[in-house]
């Protein structure tokens, strides 16, 4: 508490000379932002993230500029005998910046750009759904208590006890069968939706626990009682009074959930139950590249480095965000 913002900020005295007109206070969020701005790690990881997200968003534009699509094949650039890219470092050239895939002969760079898009979209969407579910459940459990809390906590414990990978492996196929006949192709968007649903089904519990704990510590605060004494309804108390005080833990758990989902999605696709060929995807790409570890190491190198950078940047940024949103500032 040695450097609480109260000490840093000049405390206006009630009867002091009138402050200049239109004084606007700095909100806790703005203070956090200022701290974040001063954090070099946060800025570097944030810029990396921003760059990768821009690349992902601009994938079709990059395709046009680069002149190669993610499904274009360049089999003539592979050896006939071993299907390994000709030339250096997996076929790196002016036309194919990161080389080409062995076997299929597709351009690695543009597939990574699109893979980034798949990866980031799934991770962000999962994190958003997770946060939405987790926050709602956590607030309800924490504020209402009683049997609602008991039921939600029970479900949380149950979901935490389920082994994620085994569950995902067991669930993916029956879900596909339930919605698609044996002669119908399972569209990529459906697989994406199921992945998001699986992540959300598992991820919401930790957010819910976190939020529940926060809410329990907040619900006895007098500003909540003041709202109740003024006749505020449940909705107002939950979303107007409690929620703004939960942004810090929600943001931190969100920013740490995203990289977990990036790796999770890659892991599931690696195991063949996530995104499947020909949709560009990091997990599927790394799975294929493992077989060429010795003969074409460049194939695993580029997607490996990128997913590493993405996950590291998200994690560092999440940590920095947690520091910036230090609960001391919440007073």
């Amino acid at each position: 508490m040695s450097l609480s913002p109260e000490v840093l900020e000049p405390v206006p005295v009630a009867d002091a000379a009138p402050a200049p007109k239109g004084v606007v206070g700095r909100s806790p969020g703005q203070l956090a932002w200022m701290r974040l701005r001063r954090d070099r790690t946060a800025m570097i990881s944030g810029c990396t993230l921003l760059f990768l997200m821009l690349v992902a968003l601009a994938a079709p534009l990059i395709e046009v500029l680069y002149g190669v699509g993610p499904h274009d094949e360049f089999k003539h650039l592979l050896t006939r005998r071993g299907s390994i890219p000709l030339g250096y470092a997996g076929g790196v050239s002016a036309d194919h910046w990161f080389g080409i895939e062995p076997g299929t002969g597709r351009d690695i760079f543009i597939r990574m750009v699109y893979g980034l898009r798949t990866s980031i979209f799934i991770a962000l969407a999962s994190a958003i759904v997770t946060a939405g579910l987790g926050v709602t459940a956590g607030i309800l459990a924490g504020y209402l208590g009683g049997w609602v809390d008991t039921v939600i906590s029970w479900i949380t414990d149950f979901a935490l006890a389920l082994p994620f990978l085994i569950f995902a492996l067991a669930v993916m196929r029956p879900v596909e069968l339930r919605f698609y006949g044996p002669r119908e192709e399972v569209p990529t968007w459906f697989r994406v939706a199921v992945l998001i649903a699986i992540f959300a089904a598992f991820g919401w519990t930790s957010t819910a626990r976190l939020v529940r704990g926060q809410v329990i510590s907040l619900r006895e605060r007098e500003f909540i009682e003041a709202a109740r004494a003024s006749g505020a309804g449940l909705g107002h108390i939950l979303f107007r009074q409690l929620l703004p005080n939960l942004w810090a833990p929600i943001l931190v758990s969100f920013s740490l959930a995203v990289p977990a989902y990036v790796t999770g999605e890659a892991a599931l696709s690696f195991l063949g139950i996530g995104i499947v060929d020909p949709t560009p995807d990091f997990g599927a790409m790394i799975f294929r590249s493992i077989a060429y570890l010795q003969t074409d190491p460049a194939y695993v190198f580029f997607p490996g480095i990128t997913i590493f950078a993405l996950v590291l940047a998200f994690n560092l940024f999440g940590d920095a965000l947690r520091d910036a949103l230090d609960p001391k500032s919440s007073r």
């Binding site: 206006p12 402050a19 004084v23 009682e225 009074q241």
Partner: protein, 314 residues
């Protein structure tokens, strides 16, 4: 006609090991514009009583009548119009304001919640309120962490005033403040009470503050009122031994250095889970007789004691 009438108000909490009789049958009334002080040691049930009055807690028994209307078990919707007349100020200036809301939003909250549209707009009303409690109305957009404890308490008061209530329950509004600030806030409350004709139920353990602010005083011990009466009656001529003991503990500059007349209570306050039979104070009372253990003294003529000091005694 009394603004607020409380009859046999009771609150029992179930806890592990039994029932906590936090409030066990209170009777009192508050007239419009009147201030009633509720004093007692911590744990005597005064805060619980305050919470029940504004219906933050559901009473276990008894009745709360506000403007001739029984509000004891009104639902949230039915309670809504009465909320405007019945507000509360809290003890902790740090917990009383939502740290993520601007002061303007905090003060406006009762208006937004009740959908009240004051003439001239919410912002104007909020600025009026801020001015009323002695804050710079331009600080509308500031956040609680930018204010001192006393200023925050003023914000809390402004919020309680937003709906122009008739009665405010002030739950130890100054006990968390510095002594110098306490006086400012008390003065503000007195001024508001006079200017706006507010009635107060003023909960405090500090008898000096109560004496300064309240017209009537009720003394609570273990969930019951042991003595109630006009301020001067209580302070000048306390009749219940407990009241006398409390009053004697007030440091008096005039009597500094004299230990004479100081009543030291022995023993701890018994647990409200298992209060003593008969008179609850008997375990610490120097006047206790056999009857005190068997018969509970009723509150007659403002005092609940088998052996009260005679009326009019100094």
């Amino acid at each position: 006609m009394s603004l607020l009438a409380v009859e046999g108000l009771t609150k029992h909490f179930t806890a592990r090991g039994g029932v906590v009789r936090a409030v066990d049958g209170l009777d009192f009334t508050v007239r419009a514009g009147q201030t009633l002080g509720l004093v007692g040691e911590s744990g005597c049930g005064k805060t619980t009583t305050g919470r029940m009055l504004v219906r933050l807690l559901e009473p276990t028994g008894g009745r709360i009548v506000f403007e001739d209307r029984d509000i004891t078990h009104l639902g949230r919707r039915a309670m809504r119009p009465l909320r405007q007349d019945l507000q509360i100020i809290f003890q902790d200036p740090y917990a009383t304001l939502n740290p993520r809301h601007t002061v303007g939003r905090i003060v406006a909250m009762p208006l937004t919640v009740n959908g009240t549209r004051p003439p001239g707009g919410v912002k104007k009303r909020v600025q009026e309120l801020l001015e009323l409690v002695g804050l710079n109305p331009e600080h509308y957009n500031r956040y609680p962490h930018e204010f001192s404890g006393g200023q925050r308490q003023r914000v809390g008061i402004a919020r309680a005033l937003a709906l122009r209530p008739k009665l405010i329950v002030a739950d130890e509004p100054v006990s968390a403040l510095d002594v110098s600030i306490q006086a400012q806030v008390i003065n503000l409350l007195r001024q508001l009470q006079r200017d706006l004709g507010l009635a107060f139920v003023f909960i405090a353990h500090d008898l000096a503050v109560v004496r300064h602010f309240c017209q009537r005083v009720a003394v609570m011990y273990l969930g019951r009122i042991v003595e109630i009466g006009e301020r001067d009656e209580i302070y000048e001529r306390p009749r219940h031994p407990y009241t006398r003991a409390l009053l004697s503990a007030i440091p008096d500059v005039a009597k500094l250095g004299q230990s004479e007349g100081r009543i030291r209570l022995t023993g701890d306050v018994p647990t409200p889970m298992n209060p003593p039979s008969g008179c609850r104070f008997r375990t610490r009372c120097w006047k206790a007789q056999d009857i005190c253990a068997t018969e509970e003294p009723p509150l007659t003529a403002g005092v609940a004691c088998h052996f009260p000091e005679p009326e009019g005694a100094p």
